[in-house]
């Protein structure tokens, strides 16, 4: 089965207050060593796959540069990464090649580089079309920057665009959210991602919210109910505009669903490169997941991989807590070929009874309420915690 490749570039010009990802602001001196290690790992990929007990194809049908901000790297560094990928894998002609971009970082030379290396999909971290909201969380762009970037990308032939929005940002209101939704629809971008602000102690804003303080505009964050309403509004508005929901956070016009993201939810193989990058390969037993060190120091110092065998039980759990994220749901008849589902039947019945899941023939899927409470649903599929 063809692979997905993920290249993580965890560098940013500034770190956004809501960011709970391992990205940060680093000096340019680090970039070169970082790119060195990635290139080395790409060259070593077949050996690593074998050591980890996984089966890796050379064929690749999706490449995804995520961040952080991949375009913060020098053109020559990006160039090197692309060349390494071309040399070490058989990237299919029809492959989906995505780069995540921060609006305002797309110079003419970057766009030219994209064209040269067949980048056919760009994901823009817009988050909000309301300038006050974007700047309150530390984004460096405004609405016109975004619109300008979209025009320039289209002019360069890159039309498969994703725009990210976040519901629950400081200062956001039902009205301002409607405005962002109208704007995103008006761009005619074929793919939209809608996230809700995650409040945890891994981001500055999250910590401040938990502490009940006022830094990072935390006291202007809409409450849980309003944020949930915003999400529901987004589902409705986007559907009405022909952008249907296919996953909890992802919406697309038919045929524009992200091939790369689908790999994660359908347990197809992928390899990740860079700090805290995750890979999954099929193995003789079931599957194997492995990842690189989660700090930059350890990563550039050459620390080795974390390794996690997915046995049959874990694979069964994943099938549900990943597969149910998709609107198409999980086909029990199909899954029953691979796994023993007896343990799960009463749980599924109870979740259907609680209107968190619905069943159609042999397919179960989340209800609209279940989507907003999906963690509560997924938790039930895990065997009792050890």
């Amino acid at each position: 089965m063809p692979l997905g490749l993920y290249i993580s570039v965890p560098f940013c010009r500034t770190k956004c207050t809501y960011c709970n990802f391992a990205s940060d602001v680093f000096s340019k001196a680090v970039f070169q060593r970082y790119v060195d290690r990635i290139c080395n790992d790409i060259a070593q990929a077949p050996i690593t796959a074998e050591q980890m007990g996984g089966l890796a194809d050379r064929t690749v049908d999706s490449v995804y540069f995520g961040g952080g901000t991949p375009t913060i790297l020098d053109s020559s560094q990006l160039e090197r990464l692309f060349v390494m990928i071309w040399q070490n894998f058989d990237v299919q002609a029809a492959a989906e090649i995505t780069v995540e971009c921060a609006p305002g970082t797309l110079t003419a030379s970057v766009i030219e580089l994209f064209r040269r290396h067949c980048v056919n999909r760009v994901s823009l971290g817009v988050q909000s079309f309301v300038d006050q909201e974007a700047s309150a969380v530390g984004r460096l762009h405004n609405r016109s920057t975004v619109l300008d970037d979209i025009t320039r990308l289209r002019d360069a032939g890159i039309t498969n665009l994703n725009l990210d929005l976040i519901a629950g940002l400081p200062h956001q209101t039902a009205q301002s959210w409607d405005f962002s939704l109208e704007q995103v629809i008006a761009t005619k971008a074929p793919h939209v991602s809608v996230y809700m602000l995650e409040v945890d102690d891994e981001s500055r804003l999250g910590r401040e919210l938990i502490a009940g303080g006022t830094k990072y505009h935390a006291h202007f964050v809409p409450d849980e109910d309003l944020t949930a309403n915003m999400y529901e509004t987004a589902c409705d508005r986007l559907r009405a505009a022909g952008i249907h929901q296919y996953e909890i956070s992802n919406f697309a016009r038919t045929g524009f669903e992200s091939r790369h993201n689908l790999k994660y939810w359908t347990r197809q193989p992928y390899l990740g490169f860079g700090v805290d990058a995750h890979s999954m390969l099929t193995s003789r037993d079931a599957a194997v997941r492995f990842s690189t060190p989660d700090t930059l120091e350890q990563y550039v110092a050459g620390a080795s991989f974390n390794h996690n065998l997915i046995d049959l039980e874990a694979a069964l759990e994943e099938t549900f807590f990943l597969g149910l994220r998709l609107n198409r749901g999980v086909d029990l008849d199909q899954v029953a070929h691979e796994f023993d589902l007896r343990r799960l039947i009463p749980i599924i019945d109870e979740l259907i009874n609680d209107a968190l899941l619905e069943r159609q023939g042999s397919v179960i899927r989340l209800t609209a309420r279940g989507r907003l409470l999906s963690n509560e649903v997924f938790e039930r599929f895990l065997a009792v915690a050890k």
Binding site: F21, G66, D225, T227, W265, E317, L372, L373, L382
Partner: protein
């Protein structure tokens, strides 16, 4: 040694007024401890004692002092706990002395605790030597301190000894004053044996070690003795004194103080205040003053992790080996599972036990709201004592209820009187006296229901007085009061561990505060949850925890499925650690809501 050269004395002092430092200096000056052995606060051996600056267990240390008159005197320092919770132990320690040093901080003045213990000493007929400490501090005010000693304690302070225990200034005068002013013990070593037990502790090698003061006769190694209150007959295996290291000796004569080992298995067999006599030639009467100590404050103790229940029981048993004043019995709660109903002498005692359980036995505990023991007179004429809300009677069976009342002594500065009066009134206090003991010190005597003290009184008092109020109390009375049982219901199910007994007039306010605190502490669930307070079938307050709207993980972070799984596992584990009542998951901290209600009202 001739009894004329014996001096037995105690030290009375408020926390931080310098008792332990002075004791250390006395040990040094008499050569009982060399500089090399010196460790701050030699006598407070428990970590908890050192950290908190309090004494929990008594000690008796023998020093030899060469006085200016050329004679060598045997000084026995009986170090006692100072806190009100232990006033019975203190009274027995004081009864073992002929004199006491009253230490007062020259800048702080007399505090309520010192006052109470001074009165105990006066009532026991002790010669009290006022010692004014910390005279080296710039803020020291010796005339005013003397004025307070005279005004509040009623002692002549004109010949108070002025010292700095820290620098050692004046400390030799203390030794001279002990010798000159404290009378030697009376008593005849040839008479029938009467020795008072004034403390005991459990030693894992030797069993119970008992501290005794011999009043009449002589206690000898090998002697067959009888404990007069419980009738047990034992052989004296060892006798000794602490210098401060233990030294074994052959006999303790009338007037002397020391320790005894006699194969006693638990401290409850050697009750404080009991009299030891000779089995074959017993005394006619025991020494006066024995009381069975009764716990005053009650609470349920549960482990956070139900699997630790057995460890909790073992820990409680071990602590009880050393502390007969606290009691426990198994109880079970629908909400919290299996635990223990415990009785304590007071709040400090409760805190100490809790802290030792958590620290020394590494247990994580949930304590239910502390309460008191009520006397309930039933309509059929029977009287029952109830300290557990779950055993409260049906209102139709109750003719009247009596609640324990304390007499509280509060010493403070005039500027805080307003706040304190408002507090004690709010707590249903009745004023007994109000007097200025000096121009800058007010002494209040209030009768207060103990029930109102056990929840948050100390903290509130501290906060309204910015720490400048000291409190002492003793059980004084019972009042007939209309007490009711307030229940908390979560999603219609009563949560037994949250029930409290409260005065009828306060039930509404308390109920409202409690449900609103619970609303903050109970996380949103998959469905709406009603939290109600009720008295009997009547709902008096209600709050609603709205149903959870969202719990979603969005981003996939480059396919990091492991992180997603970990978060789901953590969520599942978090629920497992909550207590499930009906269909509602209640976090541990919600069970402490009762204790926290007062915090916001400050």
């Amino acid at each position: 040694m001739d009894a004329a050269f014996l001096r037995n004395f105690a030290i009375i002092a408020h926390i931080d007024h310098g008792k332990s430092t002075l004791a250390d200096r006395l040990l040094e000056l008499t050569g009982s401890v060399t500089a090399r052995e010196m460790q701050a606060q030699v006598l407070d051996s428990m970590d908890l004692e050192r950290e908190r600056g309090i004494t929990i267990k008594a000690h008796a240390v023998r020093m030899l002092y060469n006085a200016l008159d050329g004679q060598t005197y045997q000084l026995n320092l009986i170090d006692t706990p100072g806190h009100v919770d232990f006033s019975y132990e203190v009274s027995r320690s004081l009864a073992s002395c002929e004199g006491a040093l009253l230490i007062v901080d020259a800048s702080q003045g007399v505090e309520a605790q010192t006052l109470a213990n001074s009165y105990l000493a006066i009532n026991n007929g002790l010669e009290i030597i006022p010692v004014i400490n910390k005279i080296d501090l710039p803020s020291a005010d010796i005339p005013r301190t003397k004025e307070m000693i005279e005004g509040a304690v009623g002692l002549d302070a004109s010949n108070a000894v002025l010292i700095s225990a820290k620098t050692g200034q004046g400390v030799p005068d203390v030794l001279e004053a002990i010798v000159k002013r404290i009378p030697p013990p009376k008593g005849d070593p040839e008479k029938r044996l009467q020795a008072l037990i004034f403390d005991s502790w459990f030693d894992s090698y030797r069993g119970v070690i008992v501290l005794v003061r011999v009043f009449q006769g002589t206690l000898r190694k090998g002697q067959k003795i009888r404990l007069m209150w419980n009738g047990k007959v034992l052989d004296v295996e060892a006798l000794g004194i602490q210098c401060p290291k233990p030294v074994e000796i052959e006999e303790l004569k009338a007037g002397e103080v020391g320790f005894l080992v006699a194969n006693i298995k638990t401290v409850s067999d050697a009750k404080i205040g009991d009299t030891i006599t000779d089995d074959t030639n017993p005394a006619i009467e025991p020494l006066p003053g024995f009381e069975e100590i009764k716990p005053m404050v009650f609470a349920g103790l549960y482990t956070v992790d139900a699997h630790e229940h057995t460890q909790l029981r073992e820990a409680l048993e071990k602590l009880r080996l050393n502390d007969s004043s606290f009691f426990f019995e198994p109880e079970s709660s629908v909400a919290l599972g299996f635990g223990f109903r415990c009785g304590f002498l007071g709040l400090l005692h409760m805190e100490i036990i809790q802290e030792r359980l958590e620290r020394e036995f590494n247990l994580s505990l949930i304590t239910t709201a502390p309460g008191v023991r009520y006397k309930i007179y039933k309509t059929d004429g029977e009287m029952v004592e109830v300290d557990n809300p779950s055993r409260w009677l049906n209102p139709s069976e109750i003719a009247k209820i009596e609640e324990p009342v304390i007499l509280a002594t509060i010493l403070t500065q005039p500027e805080y009187v307003g706040g304190i009066l408002a507090l004690v009134e709010e707590k249903r206090g009745r004023q007994k006296t109000f007097e200025y003991v000096t121009s800058n010190r007010v002494m209040l005597h209030y009768e207060l229901p103990l029930n109102e003290i056990v929840l948050d009184f100390y903290d509130r008092l501290k906060s309204v007085s910015r720490g400048y109020a000291s409190l002492d109390y003793h059980l004084a009375d019972y009042w007939e009061s209309p007490m009711v049982k307030l229940d908390i219901l979560v999603a219609g199910e009563p949560v037994d561990a949250l029930s409290i007994i409260v005065h009828r007039d306060f039930a509404y306010e308390r109920g409202k505060a409690l449900v609103s605190k619970m609303r903050e502490l109970i996380p949103r669930q998959m469905f709406e949850v009603a939290i109600q307070a009720s008295i009997g079938a009547k709902i008096i307050a209600r709050e609603t925890v709205h149903a959870i709207r969202k719990n979603v993980l969005a981003k996939c972070y480059g396919g990091d499925i492991t992180r997603k799984r970990k978060l789901l596992e953590k969520q599942k584990e978090g629920k497992r650690r909550m207590k499930r009542i009906g269909r509602v998951d209640i976090p541990q901290e919600a069970f402490l809501a009762v204790l926290k209600v007062g915090e916001d009202s400050n």
